[in-house]
Symmetry: C2
Subunit: 533 residues, 2 copies
């Protein structure tokens, strides 16, 4: 702990809080340069905006907020800007004026609140933010989300969301085409976990339609299969749906994190021999940690043979379908019954944007409709097949399609392909730089995707003889370096243990802002922050 | 059909498409008045924006989008602006350039796409839009959503959402205080249906914690209760959770749409006598159609006696807790185990914003955690109780709190109270205007909430003797008037049948933009569009 403290003192001066400085400048600008055009927001309250108040003032207030946001976006792209200005929760709580009072605060105070919020937010679009599968900030997608907010509607009927309903159809069709589904259906859901839940629910409904009315007591024991490295939301779906997490059988992975079809088949056979019903296999296209792609054709063969619903969780890897160079990783995906695909990950759309695509038309509706005719009237003046309310588990549903539609149109499929190939190349560049570098050890050689998993071994651990002790100490290295990164705010990269492997870093490149120099920086920063451990 | 057509021809000229005109103006402005400062967006592509391109251009593009949005917001507030410019799906499909191509389109084309989208969107913030429980456009909340989009993060860990995590705590505590929970927990969920699902899942987990791992087969038959007029999402939750919709027992309502405690008690007793397990009662505070409030204290007494989880679905009515004048409608809500409350309804926050509040701390986590340590590491450098990932069914979770926090702070609790009292007063004004007006018949006398339900009876039906024929014809009146309203775009109000009542209008006032003159207009418009039926 002492050495960590020392190291932090040593490093924090290396990265000045440029964003903090710029915000201070911006605030000063607001106070000092309020020309004749700028209203004195310190005497104005929200009630003076539309709808009751002035439309001119409304425009000026919104533009001032947007000026702040544009400044934030620009600063975020400067490599030397801090990725975050970290504080412990109790410290941050004291810095911010979070409490709501009975009395209103002025618009000036709200502008200050926005500024302070921006100061302490993590800059997920920063070129040195490598922490999540979702990162980056696509400007056109942002414009789309701003429009979506201004329109403020629900996408459950054509009646109140005519344009977005049509766009959702176009985009879902486009995604199905890329998968290779000739027909089918789909829906945007609030995140990949819920998309996966929709899939399991649809599969259960196909097998046992009575379950919807009579419950799981009417069905024999249902069993699902997913690899050891699959996303935890499959177990989550089993818990929610009343299937039970014990009935999600983990299938073994090979050395590269891919599901082993032989293990799947033998576990399916065991399940049947027990008298239980195997009904759902989730293959993963792009696992969370290693970025592994399960062998879809071999899994599809087993699903065909045993008449099991095949789902592909391509939340992370789905975007690769846009790349001629990389789409073969998902070979066989067209044989699936359903696919989860999150455009907010590799494609770079804003959060949230997740779709479930189905090969089968009609099942979403049959599974989820509750004939709530007081909401979804059947005697309206247009073709009611455009209403999506009866397909959804939600009632009101947020419009997630527009930000994707606008971005996709702005880049074209070719532009998205270029971007996806770029992040692949960057990940490969990083891998090649560290593969033989002293102090770096790869978790996975020749990764197929943009996840690069590795250990950093500090100098004094490199020659350690006692393997058990080395392992135990190595487990602490990534958390210490990560904490130091966060405290000096220079970069962020994730870490985690996996199976018998102790904590290792997982770099993800999914942000179009990343350049080679940012990856070089990450290597140096890990060495700088970890060399004394 | 002939008379309908005639009437439409007759009326469409009465409402000019002012918004269309203004958009055309704006477009002309863009083309003709592009001064030296305005880039020629028709030669510029998305790839020339940040992160690879110019920050100056990025700012200019975003500002141009915002100019369009501000123009939309201003136009939306003008009563004479069309609420919608209705087209049948196939017609609208032809008007819009929805298809995605391989090649990118220019930024100019994207700006045009935004404009066309805005033209054909339904103006849910328009003072004459009375169609949904969620309407209006709060400017401060909009600013909050714009900031949320620019920050583009997930609220599943403090690590990447430090400020929003703290805000969520503050706001959930504030909401629990208003309910009267001394302690407890809560979470923002994607809409009220999912909040209700969280509640049923938590109640099941409290009763039968083994269900999470072993599934519903490990539990005796579970039975839920909700009134005939409760929201369909309770049945939806039962379907998803594997409880089955047959095990949601509808409890009878009195004449005013309130759950009858005596019927609840006898149905609970019948269930127990059958050997099944009553475990969940959902009382409604503000039903969707009539706006009825179930008698919470009487229901709580029964839940206490039979040891049943009491949920209050206050998605719609929760906002009334902010009004000293109206909060007694929810008397007894503090006795609930859980409450769904959607600030995107009565409080006017932007979509989506729904919270589930719980009296019990710990249960959300125990129910939903799956110990995915590869995502939610336990050796991080801060107090991990701030991470919410293990409480959620979703993995990534959209930040829904900021738009609410900023709006609430800007208005203060007093400002929200004033707004809620105002919409109440407006609804009362409308009720009093139509109560004794010729041709109007009330579905519910002296409504308690801002739902006003009524029939319009066209002149030639008023003296009809044959009650059955009159009823059958009256059933067609609201759909015809609604279709005409949509086709001429002047206003929107919902209709539906309920129980043995044929189609009637349901006016909802929840939009702070509504004035008395807009309600006067609605009455005239219904008469104008319906008099010849």
């Amino acid at each position: 702990m002492a050495s960590r403290k020392m190291s932090l003192d040593d490093t924090t001066n290396h990265t000045s809080n440029r964003y903090g400085e710029n915000l201070a400048k911006l605030r000063g600008y607001r106070r000092d340069h309020s020309g004749p055009d700028r209203p004195d927001f310190s005497t104005i309250y929200a009630r003076e905006l539309l709808p009751q108040g002035s439309s001119e003032l409304t425009g000026k207030f919104l533009k001032e907020v947007v000026d702040q946001l544009i400044e934030y976006i620009k600063q975020e792209q400067i490599p030397e800007t801090k990725v975050l200005d970290f504080h412990q929760p109790h410290e941050l709580r004291e810095k911010l004026q979070l409490d709501i009072t009975d009395k209103p605060v002025t618009l000036e105070q709200l502008l200050t609140d926005c500024q302070e919020t921006l100061m302490y937010c993590v800059k997920t679009g920063h070129p040195r933010f490598f922490n999540q599968l979702s990162s980056g900030l696509d400007i056109v997608s942002l414009a789309g989300e701003w429009l979506t907010a201004a329109v403020n509607t629900n996408i459950f009927t054509y009646e109140i969301a005519p344009v977005f309903t049509l766009m959702e159809r176009v985009i879902l069709k486009k995604m199905r085409d890329l998968i290779g589904f000739e027909d089918g259906d789909g829906i945007f859901a609030p995140g990949g976990a819920i998309s996966n839940l929709y899939a399991v629910n649809a599969a259960r409904h196909k097998l046992a339609p009575d379950c919807k009315t009579k419950g799981m007591q009417s069905v024999s024991r249902l069993v699902m299969f997913a690899s050891e490295h699959s996303h935890y939301s499959l177990r989550g779906a089993a818990a929610v749906l009343g299937i039970g997490t014990d009935n999600v059988i983990p299938v073994r992975c090979d050395q590269r994190g891919k599901m082993m079809p032989s293990d799947l088949e033998s576990k399916v056979q065991q399940t049947k021999a027990r008298g239980d019903t195997p009904f759902f296999v989730s293959a993963t296209a792009g696992t969370t940690v290693l970025g592994a792609f399960d062998p879809l054709n071999a899994i599809a063969d087993i699903c065909d043979q045993y008449n099991i619903w095949m789902h592909v969780d391509a939340a992370w890897g789905g975007g690769a379908l846009l790349s001629k160079k990389h789409r073969s990783l998902l070979e066989g995906v067209h044989r699936a019954d359903s696919v989860t695909w999150n455009p907010h990950k590799l494609m770079g759309a804003l959060l949230q944007c997740s779709a479930l695509l189905l090969k089968h038309d009609g099942i979403l509706e049959s599974c989820n409709e509750l004939k709530a005719r007081y909401l979804f009237q059947q005697d309206k003046n247009y073709d009611l097949s455009y209403d999506t309310g009866d397909k959804a588990i939600q009632c009101g549903r947020h419009v997630d399609v527009f930000k994707l539609w606008l971005m996709w149109k702005g880049k074209g499929s070719i532009g998205l392909e270029t971007q996806i190939n770029l992040v692949y190349d960057l990940a490969k560049y990083f891998y090649e730089k560290i593969r033989d570098r002293e102090g770096f050890e790869m978790v996975l050689e020749e990764p197929e995707f943009t996840n690069i998993c590795f250990w950093y071994v500090p100098p004094r651990m490199r020659l350690m003889k006692d393997a058990a002790e080395k392992k135990q100490r190595l487990n602490q290295v990534a958390p210490i370096i990560k904490a130091r990164m966060m405290e000096c705010g220079s970069t962020m990269v994730g870490y985690q243990p996996l199976d018998d492997k102790v904590n290792f870093f997982r770099l993800v490149v999914s942000n179009a802002a990343v350049r080679r120099s940012d990856l070089d920086f990450l290597i140096q920063e890990i060495e700088r922050l970890g060399k004394d451990i």
